[in-house]
Amino acid sequence: MKYNLYEAERGKEYIVTDTPDIKLLSSIGIFKGARIKKEHTYRFGGPVSVSLSTRKIAIGKDIAEKIRVKGE
C-alpha cells in the first residue's frame, strides 16, 4: 500500500520509500527506509506532523505530497 505522506492515514506507521531531494529532510530524519508515524494533517493547505522515533516534526504540504510512504 503506497501513499504520499500528505494523504497517509493519521495515527498509522509507515516506511518512507521516496523523498524529494531536500537535504534538510534527510538530516532531520526523513530518508528512504525511515520509520515514521503520521500524526496530523492540517487542513486548508496546512502541513502534516509526524513522529520519528524520538522527535516530532512538521512538514509543509508541498513537500509532504512529494514524500512517498508505504504501510507496514
Binding site: 538530516s27 496530523h40 487542513r43 493547505g45 502541513p47 516534526i57 509543509g60 504540504k61
Partner: protein, 600 residues
C-alpha cells in the same frame, strides 16, 4: 556564499585554544554557554535561537580557552549557513568539543554526534534535558551510552545548573590528556566514501547506528504521559490546538494591556503628574532663567515633563509586561506549535508558518526580529518577513502608546486600527512576494517538548531583555524628547507646522502641530504617537493619526539593522515605502471618513 560572510572574524579560526559547543538545534547549547562564560545569550524553546556563533572565555586547568557556541545543526552536510559555520569550526583544529546530547531526542542527537566523532577531535558530552526524558519515562543507561560512543557523558539539566560542575571536571580531564592522543591526521569526515567504507551511505548508516545505540541504552518505562505532554499534544492537534492558541494569545494580550493600563492609572500617572513633574516645576521656578529655557526644561513639552510622561509612564509598563509574557511563550515551546497550526494561513500569504515566530518577535522589537530572519532558507523569505515587520508590526513601545491613545477613547477605534494593520500586513506580504524573484521554501520544523520555563533562567532572560531595552532605547528616546522640547518651546515647530500644513491638515486632517509626530517618528516608533496624546483629537483624527504612525518609518535603529543585514538600498527602499504608504493610506482614510461623516 563566501566564507568571510559567515565567520566575520577569521582570527577565531586560527585560535589554538578553542573548545566548540555543539549539538542539534534547541538542546540548550546557549544555556551552557551562558553558564560557563558569564556572557548571557538569549535561549528559547525553539530551533534557531542562535543564528550566528558566539565566543566567550572559559578557564580550565589554569588556561584560558575560547568557548564557541556554534549554531545548532541537524547534520554536517553543509546544506545551510549554520552547517557551513559548524564545518568550518570543526576543520579549524579545536582542542575539544563539548557536545550536547538531547536526552529527550536521543536518536537524533546520537546521529549528529556520530558525524562529529568522525572528525576525531576529543569530545565530552552533556546529556541535557535529562529531566524531560525522565518525565517521558525514558531510562537512559549512561555508562552503556559512554561505552557505545566512546566518550565521557555527564547527565545535566543546564537551566537548573545540574551537572555543570561534573561536566567542567570531565572537560579538564580530557584537555589534560596529550593532544596527540588521537589520530588527528586521519580525517575522513569530508570524504564522500570509497568502496569498502560504510561512509558511502553515511547518512543512513549513522541513523541506523543511532537507532541501534538507542535500543541498547534506553529502557522505556511505559508510564502514562504527563499532563504537560498531553497539553503539548493537544496544542499541536488542529482541534483544539487552534482554539487554545487563540486563547493563549488573547490572554497574553489581556495581561499586557490590562495590567499595563492598571499600572499606568494606579501607579505611574499619579507618580509622574503629582510627584515628579511638580517637583521639577518647583525646582526650576526657584532658579532665575530666561523664559525660553524654563519652557524647554518644564514647559508643556519641557524635557523634564515629557521624558517622564512619555518614557516612564507610557512606554516602560508595556515593555516590562510584554517581556514577562513573551519570555514565557518563548521558553515554553508554544511558539513552534503556533507556527505549525497557522502555516496554512501564512502560506496563503506567500510565506510559511516558521516566519510567524519572527513576526511575533517583532511585536517586541523589530531589531531582533530582523536578525532572527537569518534562519529563513531564502533571501526572498527574509525580505518579505522583514517588510512585514517594518510596515505592519508595531513594537511594544508603540503598541503601548497606541493603546493609551485609542482605548481611552473607544475600543472600537482600537479594533479599527488593528484591522487596518492586519490588512496592511496581508497586502505587504502578498505584494512583496509578487515583486521579489525567487521562492519561499515550505515549512520543515522540529516541534520541541512543551516545558514549564525554569524560574531562574526565565527571570534572568527577562532582566537581560529589559536591561537591553534600557541601554539601547533610552538614548534615542531622550534624543527624541530633547528634540521635541526644543522644537515646541523655541517656536520652531510653528514654522515647520506651517510648512507641512497642506500635508498634515489638508490631506491627513490633523491639527498642524501633529507635524511633530512625523518628525519624532523618524527617531523612534512610539514617539510618533506620544505627541498626539495631548492634541484633543476627535475619533477620525485619532484613527488617521494611529494608522499613519503605525505604518510610518520603523525607527533609526531599524534603519541601521536593515543596512547591516541587507544593504543601504534595501534600508532606504523600505523606509521610503513606509513613509509613502503611511501618508497615502492615512489621507485616503481621512477622506473616506469625512465622506462617511457627511452621509451619516
Amino acid at each position: 556564499m563566501a566564507c568571510h560572510e559567515l565567520i566575520e572574524d577569521r582570527k577565531i579560526l586560527t585560535d589554538e585554544n578553542k573548545i566548540l559547543l555543539m549539538g542539534s538545534p534547541n538542546v540548550g547549547k546557549s544555556v551552557f554557554f551562558s553558564a560557563f562564560t558569564n556572557i548571557h545569550v538569549v535561549s528559547s524553546n525553539y530551533t534557531g535561537t542562535t543564528v550566528s556563533y558566539m565566543k566567550g572565555t572559559l578557564r580550565l586547568n589554569d588556561t584560558d580557552y575560547s568557548l564557541i557556541d556554534v549554531p545548532g545543526t541537524y547534520s554536517l552536510t553543509a546544506t545551510s549557513e549554520a552547517e557551513e559555520v559548524a564545518i568550518q569550526f570543526l576543520s579549524s583544529k579545536p582542542r575539544a568539543i563539548l557536545f550536547v546530547l538531547n536526552a529527550a531526542d536521543l536518536e537524533g542527537s546520537i546521529k549528529l554526534a556520530l558525524e562529529v566523532l568522525e572528525y576525531r577531535i576529543p569530545v565530552v558530552a552533556a546529556l541535557n534535558l535529562s529531566d524531560v526524558a525522565q518525565r517521558q519515562g525514558k531510562n537512559i543507561n549512561v555508562r552503556l551510552l559512554e561505552k557505545e560512543l566512546g566518550i565521557p557523558i555527564v547527565p545535566t539539566v543546564a537551566v537548573k545548573n545540574q551537572g555543570l560542575k561534573e561536566l567542567r571536571d570531565k572537560l579538564e580531564e580530557v584537555l589534560a590528556l596529550k593532544p596527540s592522543g588521537g589520530p588527528y591526521a586521519e580525517n575522513c569526515a569530508g570524504c564522500a566514501g570509497c568502496s569498502g567504507c560504510p561512509k558511502g551511505s553515511a547518512m543512513l548508516s549513522n541513523w541506523e547506528r543511532a537507532k541501534e545505540i538507542v535500543s541498547v541504552c534506553v529502557k522505556e518505562t511505559n508510564g502514562a504521559p504527563s499532563r504537560l505532554d498531553r497539553f503539548g499534544d493537544a496544542l499541536l492537534r488542529p482541534w483544539p490546538g487552534v482554539l487554545l492558541s487563540v486563547i493563549i494569545l488573547l490572554m497574553s494580550l489581556g495581561v499586557v494591556v490590562g495590567a499595563g493600563k492598571a499600572l499606568r492609572a494606579v501607579l505611574l500617572l499619579p507618580l509622574v503628574n503629582q510627584g515628579i513633574v511638580p517637583l521639577f516645576e518647583r525646582l526650576f521656578s526657584s532658579i532665575a532663567m530666561p523664559e525660553v529655557l524654563n519652557n524647554i526644561l518644564i514647559g508643556q513639552y519641557g524635557i523634564f515633563r515629557i521624558s517622564f510622561e512619555w518614557i516612564l509612564a507610557l512606554v516602560m509598563p508595556y515593555v516590562i509586561l510584554f517581556q514577562l509574557v513573551f519570555s514565557f511563550l518563548e521558553d515554553s515551546g508554544i511558539l513552534p506549535r503556533m507556527a505549525v497550526l497557522f502555516d496554512n494561513v501564512m502560506s496563503r500569504l506567500g510565506i510559511q508558518g516558521g516566519s510567524l515566530i519572527n513576526i511575533m518577535l517583532g511585536f517586541g522589537c523589530a531589531v531582533p526580529a530582523i536578525i532572527g530572519t537569518r534562519v529563513a532558507t531564502t533571501r526572498k523569505e527574509r525580505l518579505i518577513v522583514t517588510s512585514i515587520v517594518c510596515f505592519a508590526v508595531p513594537c511594544i513601545s508603540q503598541t503601548g502608546a497606541l493603546f493609551s491613545l485609542l482605548a481611552d477613547y473607544s475600543y472600537w477605534l482600537l479594533l479599527a486600527v488593528f484591522l487596518t494593520g492586519a490588512l496592511v500586513f496581508m497586502l505587504i506580504s502578498i505584494l512583496t512576494g509578487r515583486m521579489l524573484k525567487g521562492k519561499v521554501d515550505p515549512l520543515v520544523i522540529e516541534i520541541p517538548n512543551l516545558l514549564i520555563p525554569e524560574r531562574k533562567a526565565y527571570f534572568k532572560k527577562f532582566f537581560v531583555r529589559v536591561k537591553q531595552f534600557l541601554t539601547e532605547a533610552e538614548g534615542p528616546m531622550m534624543v527624541a524628547v530633547v528634540f521635541a522640547a526644543l522644537l515646541a518651546e523655541t517656536g520652531a515647530l510653528a514654522g515647520i507646522s506651517n510648512f507641512l500644513k497642506p500635508l498634515v491638515s489638508g490631506w491627513l486632517g490633523l491639527p498642524p502641530e501633529a507635524s511633530m509626530s512625523l518628525i519624532l517618528g523618524i527617531i523612534r516608533r512610539e514617539m510618533s504617537v506620544a505627541p498626539l496624546l495631548s492634541l484633543n483629537l476627535n475619533g477620525l483624527q485619532m484613527y488617521v493619526g494611529a494608522v499613519v504612525s503605525l505604518i510610518y518609518v520603523p525607527c533609526l535603529s531599524v534603519f541601521g539593522i536593515l543596512a547591516k543585514e541587507f544593504n543601504f538600498k534595501v534600508a532606504l527602499s523600505i523606509v521610503a515605502g513606509t513613509v509613502f504608504t503611511a501618508l497615502t493610506l492615512g489621507g485616503i482614510m481621512n477622506h473616506v471618513g469625512l465622506v462617511l461623516q457627511m452621509v451619516f
